[in-house]
Symmetry: C2
Subunit: 255 residues, 2 copies
């Protein structure tokens, strides 16, 4: 089993070498810019899940990269003046500041389409179908977020962050050929991991759950989610030690 750091390295090298569609021409520069500097947590979860489920992590690299491209697409569009209007991302000017709004808009579009191209390199439609559904859920969450419909914060988060996290596990299951009924505990794990990540993120940023519940109650919520994630992993007859380490690493960040 490869440690999260090693899987991060695999994902990073794959994204560095990724050939984008030639017809995109110089548009590729803005796409690469938007892809740089991520933590690759979705890719690492995908690769770790694939290896735990019994396949070579390398086989899951196109799926892992597809998830990172969808994530990058969502950040580029979220940062645009029409949405969050953020001038900075990952400590650098955001894509529209660096390349102009028009190019950034198209970069996001192209990242999304390239993500599907990658997910479609597998022999069945299942990985790409799961990616499409997760992306649509994510956009639904983003919509709730901008129209200010935060009545149920859990709903916004479950969609906006949770769906792509759950898909990070889900895509790996298809790549590793885990049959439908055996996927259930893995998927339960993916749901809790998404929630855990969101709470941790809110605690670190002092918004969302942390703002609504206070930091201590948010930390308790994170611990509960981590416990349920561990319980789900215990039901899986496989070496899930790396996935357990990923959960622990997230919990530690709130302490």
């Amino acid at each position: 089993m490869q440690a999260p750091d090693a899987l991060f390295g695999l994902a990073e090298a794959y994204l560095d070498d990724l050939e984008l569609t030639r017809d995109l021409g110089a548009q590729q520069q803005s796409m690469r810019y938007a892809l740089e500097g991520g933590k690759r947590i979705r890719a690492v979860i995908c690769l770790a899940t694939a290896e735990a489920a019994g396949c070579e992590p390398e086989a899951a690299l196109p799926a892992a990269a597809a998830l990172e491209l969808v994530h990058a697409f969502s950040l580029v569009h979220d940062d645009l003046p029409a949405l969050d209007d953020d001038d900075e991302r990952r400590g650098r000017p955001s894509a529209h500041v660096a390349f102009g709004e028009g190019v950034a808009l198209l970069a996001g579009d192209a990242l999304l389409a390239e993500a599907f191209r990658l997910a479609l390199t597998y022999p069945t439609t299942a990985p790409a179908r799961e990616l499409a559904e997760a992306t649509l859920g994510m956009i639904g969450g983003q919509y709730l977020d901008i129209v200010g419909d935060h009545e149920d914060l859990a709903d916004v988060h479950r969609l906006k962050t949770g769906r792509l996290f759950a898909a990070s596990v889900g895509l790996a299951l298809w790549v590793a050929d885990v049959p439908g009924p055996s996927q259930l505990p893995w998927r339960a794990f993916g749901e809790e991991l998404g929630l855990l990540f969101q709470i941790v993120d809110d605690v670190l940023d002092g918004d969302g759950y942390a703002e609504r519940l206070g930091p201590d109650a948010a930390r308790d919520l994170a611990r509960d989610a981590a416990e349920r994630a561990h319980s789900a992993l215990e039901e899986i007859p496989a070496d899930t030690s790396v996935l357990r380490a990923i959960v622990e690493d997230l919990v530690v960040r709130t302490a």
Copy 2:
């Protein structure tokens, strides 16, 4: 063989009844708005090709709708202030004028993701793969267009308009299970049809080819493309009468 008008009716009814992803919530309204009022030429070509290639046009409806969703996505994003800044589309306020820029941006994103969801309802990855590649080419053309790199107008058009037209034929071939080597004359037809459509559009709008070459030379170019489209159809051992009628209908529009 169903006439273009009947195929238009099929596509229109399918799009009217299309269930969008539930998680999109009220975002669906802006998506439906953006879908309304199109000529459905890409859908009609897809359905007519599928029927000529020997399958029920109904089987090609998800593919035909996916093409229309990609087209609608591209219009919504093109109309945004960051790109062409068009306030009107199909005689109505464009999506961002009607719903605001943020919602329109997300509507475009969601239309693209829904298009993949539809293309992924087929048993193989082929239709969705072709859709992804065509979409990426289209975005590459849009990029050339906005950075003002019009040295080769034919390149911009081949990508921006031509790729989705060619895919309208291509997706139908996969749906109808036409084997790779037999696809060649169909695909040659699709390329010429895309070029023909673009020239006709330019003649009607007085820009692009018509502006560069003058209207008469542009009309000659259209007639040449139509002739090559007919030649390609003659090589296909099938009843391609509806496709021939579509070509003729386009040529007549420039007269």
